[in-house]
Amino acid sequence: MQIYLPIAEVSVNAFTLIGLGGLVGLMSGLFGVGGGFLITPLLFFIGIPPPIAVATGANQVVASSVSGVLAHVKRKSVDFRMGWVLLAGGLVGSWLGVWVFTILQGMGQVDLVVQLCYVVFLGLIGMMMLQESIRALRRSRHPTTRRRLHQHMWVHRLPAKMKFRASGLYISVIPPLLVGLAVGVLAAIMGVGGGFIMVPAMIYLLGMPTKVVVGTSLFQITFVTAFTTVMHAVSYNTVDIMLAVLLIVGGVIGAQFGTTLGAKLRAEQLRILLALLVLAVCLKLALDLFLTPDELFAITPGIR
């Protein structure tokens, strides 16, 4: 069934969009990532103009995150206090990111910077997660070493300490604020929720327990992407509501299945899966940068 999208001004198959939304929703519920880093490239691939893919992707992420976060609230796996701190950093970061984006646009190098950001961050995080989760898996099979609650690192020696009861942490607010800020900047530049960066940062940098990480990151993503959606709609008129509705229909259903599935899988397995997924996306993007492309030319509308 073909459907004409009023803002994107292209005609696409409605079931393709629903399926795509479903796949991304599943990831969202399973891993606590918004799925933006998957949906945006997939939308490019089916012929949606990039600015519309980015803005509408953000809108779809709102829906799947709301759906996911509500499921997590029911399971009491959201650290609200941590969520608000991350959000405060995230909104400032998002604003900064848009500013950087405008500068890059003036230089005509947005695509390159976005792609490089993806490759570097996905590569680093994927490797880190894979290494860590394989080690954790081995440890659980041969329980020789004593497991600590969390590792004490430099982040725990900073001032302005705050109690995060749900996470069982007593740490400085500065690291979570900075994590939120960094994620916000990257989110605005890369057009994603930023969960795939935030989740590992929360685990490895802040030392939060995996149980609350997913719900808390979804909580932050919901608000940051909502802010991004409205900003895109107002300043660039690039949110296609018809496209969003179709993606959302698939997405919310996928997110529910993902959350259910996530509760059944073991944390280590979940982490290995996410690590492999992140590395796969990274590899694909890196190949695009290094291999000779089939088409050396690209068309962008307007004269910058």
């Binding site: 073909q2 001004e9 292209v10 949110v239 940068l289 509308p301």
Partner: protein
């Protein structure tokens, strides 16, 4: 056979009485066919005509001498408006017409027809990638001031055989000519690969099309052309042009508009997005939140049951 053709002619005449369209004012000779000493198929010296025309070049001057009997196009379109609805999946436009003449059909090479349909022009930037430190990067760009978003050319025979380059340049008929002007300074040594790339990319998307031999011409008098408008159309006032050619030269032009508009829900959403962007943004958010919350509530109930 003749009876059938005449019957069609009568039908056409009736349809034409109500068909939209306007005679082009482009022909300064006032309907008198101009001519040039070159003939179609003549081989031109290597340097006299670029193998690939540069859209920035001015229109070629054509010497005009009145010769031969007067032949004019009368034509109509199956529809002068295309409505884009939610289920819009492209549209077929039938362009039909006849040749009006006071004298018998002239001797010599047969009459040829070219039909073009074009969307409003937009500015585009074409980028070329180059390897820099092992990475493929957008390095050079050419800005094209005006390129139609859609351009279809339908002809009775191979375009090169029926149209002389100077006439192509004058009326901007072929695909390379459809692009109007470069904007700003051109920083690259040659803009040709960029314009070629634009045409190639748009042809892949079915937005630029050359259908040679798809116009049917009966007895050098009646013709019809079917042009398919693709699903990924943009709004605007489209232009249909019908060229009458003899001996590689344009002897008459007919121009008719096609109005392409979004209707219903599509139109309402589009207008809202541009007139009330904040409200539209909030609406998009509300849809997302309600859908997310709704699905969550629904699944909770399902799980409990």
């Amino acid at each position: 056979m003749r009876g059938a053709a005449r019957g069609w002619g009568v039908l056409l005449a009736l349809m034409l009485a109500t068909a939209p369209g306007a005679r082009a004012q482009e022909d300064e000779a006032g309907g008198v066919p101009p001519t040039v000493p070159l003939r179609a198929g003549d081989i031109l010296p290597e340097d006299s005509w670029p193998t690939y025309p540069d859209p920035a070049q001015p229109r070629a001057d054509v010497a005009e001498e009145p010769v031969g009997p007067v032949e004019e196009v009368v034509a109509g379109l199956s529809s002068d408006a295309v409505a884009i609805t939610a289920s819009f999946d492209g549209s077929d436009i039938l362009i039909y017409g006849a040749i009006k003449r006071e004298t018998p059909i002239p001797q010599g090479p047969p009459l040829q027809i070219i039909v073009t349909v074009e969307a409003p022009s937009q500015a585009v930037t074409v980028w070329r990638k180059q390897r820099r430190a092992g990475i493929w990067v957008n390095t050079d760009s050419v800005r094209i001031g005006a390129a139609p978003g859609f351009y279809a050319v339908a002809t009775t025979a191979a375009l090169d055989d029926i149209l002389l380059p100077e006439w192509d340049s004058r009326y901007r008929i072929s695909l390379p000519q459809a692009m109007r002007a470069f904007a700003g300074q051109i920083a690259v040594e040659s803009a040709v690969p960029f314009t070629e790339a634009l045409i190639r990319l748009r042809e892949q998307d079915d937005l630029y099309r050359l259908d040679e031999g798809s116009v049917k011409l009966v007895e050098q008098t009646l013709f019809r052309a079917d042009v398919r408008l693709p699903a990924n159309l943009v709004e605007g006032s489209y232009k249909t042009r019908i060229f009458l050619l003899r001996d590689g030269q344009v002897i008459d032009v007919f121009v008719a508009p096609i109005d392409v508009r979004k209707v219903g829900l599509e139109r309402w959403l589009y207008r809202l997005a541009f007139d009330q962007p904040f409200l539209y943004g909030l609406m998009s958010l509300a849809v997302a939140v309600v859908a997310g919350w709704g699905a969550s509530a629904l699944f909770r109930r399902l799980r409990r049951a």
